[in-house]
C-alpha cells in the first residue's frame, strides 16, 4: 500500500515537473531575437530643446434657446490652431541657468479674418534666471510657473493658477496646466535633507484688466493677468510623519492672507490617497466677481447688483480629497470630491437661473450673470460648492500605443456633468495623433445644461523633435 502511494506521489511530482518545465519553455520561446535596429538611434544628437509642433482642428457645436442667453458672440463652425511649442534650459555657468518656455500659435476660424496680427499669438509661459549662491540654496528671477498642490481636478493650494490659463483646448486640468502663464517673481528655494522651504514674491506690474472675452492679444506677455497685485508665498515641505509628505503654505494676495496644506498617503495595493485644503478671509464668488467687474469697468459702477447674497468677507475653505488607483491592466483611475466654500450654494444657483430666465430679454442683467461664470472660469474656481471629479487613463488600450483617457466633472447639486474622452495614438516615438470629444449634459436649468457649448470634437496631430 505504502509502495503504491509512493509511486502515485512520484507520478504526480513528475507530471507537475513536466508541466512546470513546459511553462518555462513556453516563456523562453517568447523571448524575441534582439532587434539591432531598435538599439540604433538615428536621430540627431539632442540639442537641449524640447520642441513639438501641434495642429488642432476644433469643431464645436452650440445650444440654442438657453434659459439664460449668453452675451452675443461669434460661434465659429471650426477653429484651427497650429502651434510651435518650445522649452529649454541653458547652463550659463555652473551656478547660473536660464530657462525659456513658450508657444507660438497660428490661429484661424471660419469667417474670421486671415491673415492678420490677431492670427498670431505668442504665449510667453516662462523666462527666468536661476542662480545657486550657496549649495542647496537657489534664487530664481523672471516669469516662473509656480505650481503647488497634489490634487488633479481642483487644487486649492495652487495659488498662482488664477487667470494663468490662456488656451482652454481641453477640460483636463493637467493639459490646461501645460499652457499656463507663469508669474513674474523672485523665488527662493532652500533644500535640506528632510524638506525644503520656498518663498516667492510677485510684484504688481500692471493694472487689473477685465476678464478676457474673445481672442487674446497677439504679442503681449499679459502681465495684467499674472501680476496685477503684489503676491507672496511661503511654502514648507517636511518629512514629518510616515509617508504623508505634508506641504504647508502661507499666501498673501493684495491685502488678503490664505493658508493651505496638502498631504498624500499610500494606502497600499496601488492606491494613493491625497487631500488639499486652503482657507482664508474673502468674499463669496458672487461678490468677488461683482467687485472685480466694477473695478475693471466691465460692470458699470451704477449698475444694480443682480444676485442677492452675503456681501461680507469671512473665512472660506476650499477642499479637494481623492485617491488614485492603478489596476493590473494599466488603467489609472482618480476620484476626487471638491468643496469650494465661496462658490454658489444651491439657493445661489436657483437665483442665477431664475433671475436670468425672468430677464432673458434684458442683456444688462444676463451679461452680469454670465460675467460671474466667466470670472470663475478665469480664476479656475468651481462655480458651485460641491463637485465630484472622476478621471481614468488606460494605456495600450485594445491596441499597443493607444491611450484612452476620460474625465467627468459632476455638479452634485443638479447632477449635470461635463464629460470628455480622448484617444491618443502614439504612431511612433515622434508622431502622435489624437481625437478629443467633450460634451456637457444636464437639464436646461442645470449648470452644464445651461452652457452655450453642447459638445465639441478636436482632431490633433503632434510631431516631436
Amino acid at each position: 500500500m505504502a509502495r503504491r502511494s509512493g509511486a502515485l506521489l512520484l507520478g504526480v511530482a513528475l507530471i507537475a515537473a513536466s508541466v512546470a518545465w513546459a511553462e518555462e519553455n513556453d516563456d523562453l520561446d517568447r523571448i524575441p531575437v534582439p532587434d539591432p535596429s531598435a538599439d540604433t538611434d538615428d536621430r540627431p544628437v539632442t540639442t537641449g530643446w524640447r520642441i513639438y509642433v501641434e495642429q488642432a482642428l476644433t469643431l464645436p457645436r452650440f445650444r440654442d434657446g438657453l434659459v439664460v442667453p449668453p452675451p452675443r458672440q461669434r460661434h465659429p463652425d471650426w477653429q484651427e490652431r497650429l502651434s510651435l511649442d518650445a522649452r529649454r534650459t541653458w547652463s550659463l555657468d555652473p551656478q547660473l541657468k536660464a530657462t525659456y518656455s513658450g508657444r507660438l500659435n497660428l490661429l484661424a476660424e471660419d469667417d474670421g479674418p486671415f491673415p492678420e496680427r490677431a492670427n498670431f499669438r505668442h504665449d510667453f509661459r516662462e523666462g527666468f534666471l536661476s542662480w545657486e549662491p550657496a549649495a542647496q540654496d537657489y534664487l530664481d528671477l523672471g516669469r516662473i510657473n509656480l505650481r503647488s498642490g497634489v490634487a488633479i481636478g481642483f487644487s486649492p493650494t495652487d495659488f498662482f493658477k488664477t487667470r494663468a490659463v490662456v488656451d482652454r483646448v481641453s477640460n483636463d486640468p493637467s493639459v490646461l496646466r501645460e499652457n499656463r502663464l507663469g508669474t513674474v517673481m523672485l523665488r527662493g528655494l532652500s533644500v535640506g535633507e528632510s524638506g525644503a522651504v520656498t518663498f516667492a514674491f510677485a510684484p504688481s506690474l500692471a493694472e487689473p484688466s477685465p476678464v478676457y472675452s474673445g481672442s487674446l492679444p497677439s504679442l503681449d506677455p499679459m502681465f495684467d493677468r499674472t501680476n496685477a497685485d503684489h503676491r507672496f508665498l511661503l511654502k514648507v515641505n517636511r518629512d514629518l510623519i510616515g509617508d504623508l509628505s505634508p506641504e504647508l503654505l502661507l499666501y498673501r494676495d493684495g491685502s488678503r492672507t490664505r493658508f493651505g496644506a496638502n498631504v498624500t498617503h499610500e494606502l497600499g495595493a496601488g492606491v494613493i490617497a491625497y487631500a488639499e485644503w486652503a482657507g482664508g478671509n474673502r468674499a463669496s464668488l458672487v461678490e468677488e466677481a461683482d467687485r472685480y467687474g466694477r473695478k475693471t469697468g466691465t460692470i458699470p459702477a451704477a449698475a444694480p447688483r443682480i444676485l442677492p447674497g452675503d456681501r461680507s468677507e469671512r473665512f472660506f475653505s476650499d477642499v479637494s480629497v481623492g485617491g488614485s488607483y492603478t489596476t493590473d491592466f494599466k488603467v489609472m483611475i482618480n476620484l476626487e470630491y471638491h468643496y469650494h466654500g465661496a462658490g454658489l450654494s444651491r439657493q445661489d444657483w436657483r437665483n442665477w437661473i431664475d433671475i436670468g430666465g425672468a430677464n432673458a430679454g434684458a442683456p444688462a442683467v444676463t451679461s452680469q450673470l454670465w460675467y460671474l461664470r466667466s470670472y470663475a472660469l478665469e480664476q479656475q474656481e468651481p462655480l458651485t460648492r460641491h463637485t465630484a471629479f472622476l478621471s481614468a487613463e488606460w494605456s495600450d488600450a485594445f491596441v499597443p500605443g493607444l491611450k484612452l483617457a476620460g474625465l467627468t466633472s459632476i455638479n452634485l447639486y443638479d447632477g449635470s456633468r461635463l464629460v470628455q474622452v480622448t484617444a491618443d495614438y502614439f504612431w511612433s516615438d515622434l508622431w502622435t495623433f489624437g481625437v478629443l470629444a467633450a460634451a456637457s449634459s444636464g437639464g436646461s436649468r442645470s449648470e452644464r445644461g445651461s452652457s452655450p457649448q453642447a459638445h465639441g470634437v478636436i482632431f490633433k496631430a503632434a510631431r516631436y523633435f
Binding site: P34, D35, V191, G195, P400
Partner: protein, 264 residues
C-alpha cells in the same frame, strides 16, 4: 476556472514538484533573508551610481517602441533602502519627465505641467514594465521571504542553473508586487528568474535576468527580459548600460528639487 484558481493550482504543482523531485531539506542551511540580501548585493552596488536604462517593447517579436532613462541611485544608510531619481531621456515627448522614489514615497514630475504627482510603484512605464521594475530596490527591505525549494532551471540563454526557489511577500506599501517567486543561483547568488503576482493572485509577468558582466566591482545583470503573462504577444527588455559610480547630492531626493534636475 478562474485565473486565480488556475494560478493556485499551478503554484501547488510547482511546489509539489519542487519538494518531491529535489527535496528542501538541505536548503535551510542559508536563510531566505540571507539569500535575498546576497542577490540584492549582486543587483546593486553599495555606492551611489547611475545607469542608462533602455526599455524596448516587443510585440509579436518585433520591436515597437523604446524608452531611454537615466537612473540615479543612492542608498539611504538609515533604512538600507535605495533612493532613486529616474529621468526620461527618450522618446522626445517624454523627455525631461522625472520619477523620484525615496522611502516608500514615489513622485512623478512633468516639466510641461510643473506638477508633482504622487504615484505608486505599480504605475506603468513601458510595455509591461512598471516603474518598480527599473528602479533599484533592496528586495530584502520590501519583502519577507520564504525558501520553498531548490533545483535546476534554465536561464535566459537556456543554460541550466541550480537555484534556490524563494517565495517573497510584500512587507510594506512601497513593494511593487504583492508576491514574487524568485529563483537565485546557489553558487553565485545571481538572480535568474522571477514571477510577479498581483494582489488577486494573478500572474502578471515573468522576468529573466541575464547578460552578466563585471561592473562596479562585481558581476551584475545588464539585461532583464520581462515576459507578459496577460498579453502573450508582449515582451519588454530592460537593458542597463553606462553604469558608473557618481556622487548624488541629498537634495536630489526632495520633490521640490525635481524641476532643477536637468540633462547633464
Amino acid at each position: 476556472m478562474s485565473e486565480a484558481t488556475k494560478t493556485d493550482r499551478r503554484r501547488f504543482l510547482l511546489l509539489a514538484a519542487g519538494a518531491a523531485a529535489w527535496g528542501i531539506g538541505d536548503a535551510r542551511a542559508q536563510s531566505a533573508e540571507e539569500i535575498i540580501a546576497a542577490t540584492d548585493r549582486v543587483r546593486n552596488p553599495g555606492e551611489p551610481f547611475r545607469s542608462t536604462t533602455t526599455l524596448i517593447e516587443y510585440r509579436s517579436g518585433k520591436a515597437r517602441s523604446k524608452t531611454v532613462l537615466t537612473v540615479y541611485v543612492k542608498e539611504d544608510k538609515a533604512t538600507g533602502q535605495f533612493r532613486n531619481v529616474v529621468r526620461y531621456v527618450d522618446p522626445p515627448r517624454d523627455a525631461g519627465k522625472l520619477v523620484l522614489r525615496t522611502g516608500n514615497i514615489m513622485w512623478f514630475y512633468d516639466p510641461s505641467s510643473k506638477a508633482s504627482v504622487r504615484v505608486s510603484a505599480q504605475q506603468r512605464l513601458l510595455g509591461q514594465a512598471a516603474i518598480g521594475d527599473v528602479i533599484a530596490v533592496n528586495l530584502a527591505k520590501d519583502y519577507s521571504g520564504k525558501l520553498v525549494g531548490e533545483g535546476e532551471i534554465q536561464d535566459v540563454e537556456r543554460k541550466p542553473r541550480t537555484c534556490w526557489h524563494l517565495d517573497l511577500t510584500a512587507a510594506n506599501d512601497g513593494a511593487t508586487y504583492s508576491r514574487i517567486e524568485y529563483w537565485v543561483e546557489k553558487e553565485t547568488s545571481f538572480p535568474i528568474r522571477a514571477r510577479f503576482y498581483a494582489d488577486s493572485g494573478r500572474l502578471l509577468k515573468v522576468a529573466y535576468y541575464g547578460k552578466y558582466q563585471s561592473l562596479l566591482g562585481g558581476m551584475r545583470p545588464t539585461e532583464t527580459v520581462i515576459i507578459d503573462s496577460v498579453d502573450s504577444a508582449l515582451v519588454t527588455t530592460v537593458g542597463f548600460a553606462d553604469l558608473r559610480f557618481q556622487e548624488i547630492p541629498e537634495t536630489w531626493f526632495q520633490r521640490e528639487f525635481l524641476p532643477r534636475i536637468g540633462a547633464e
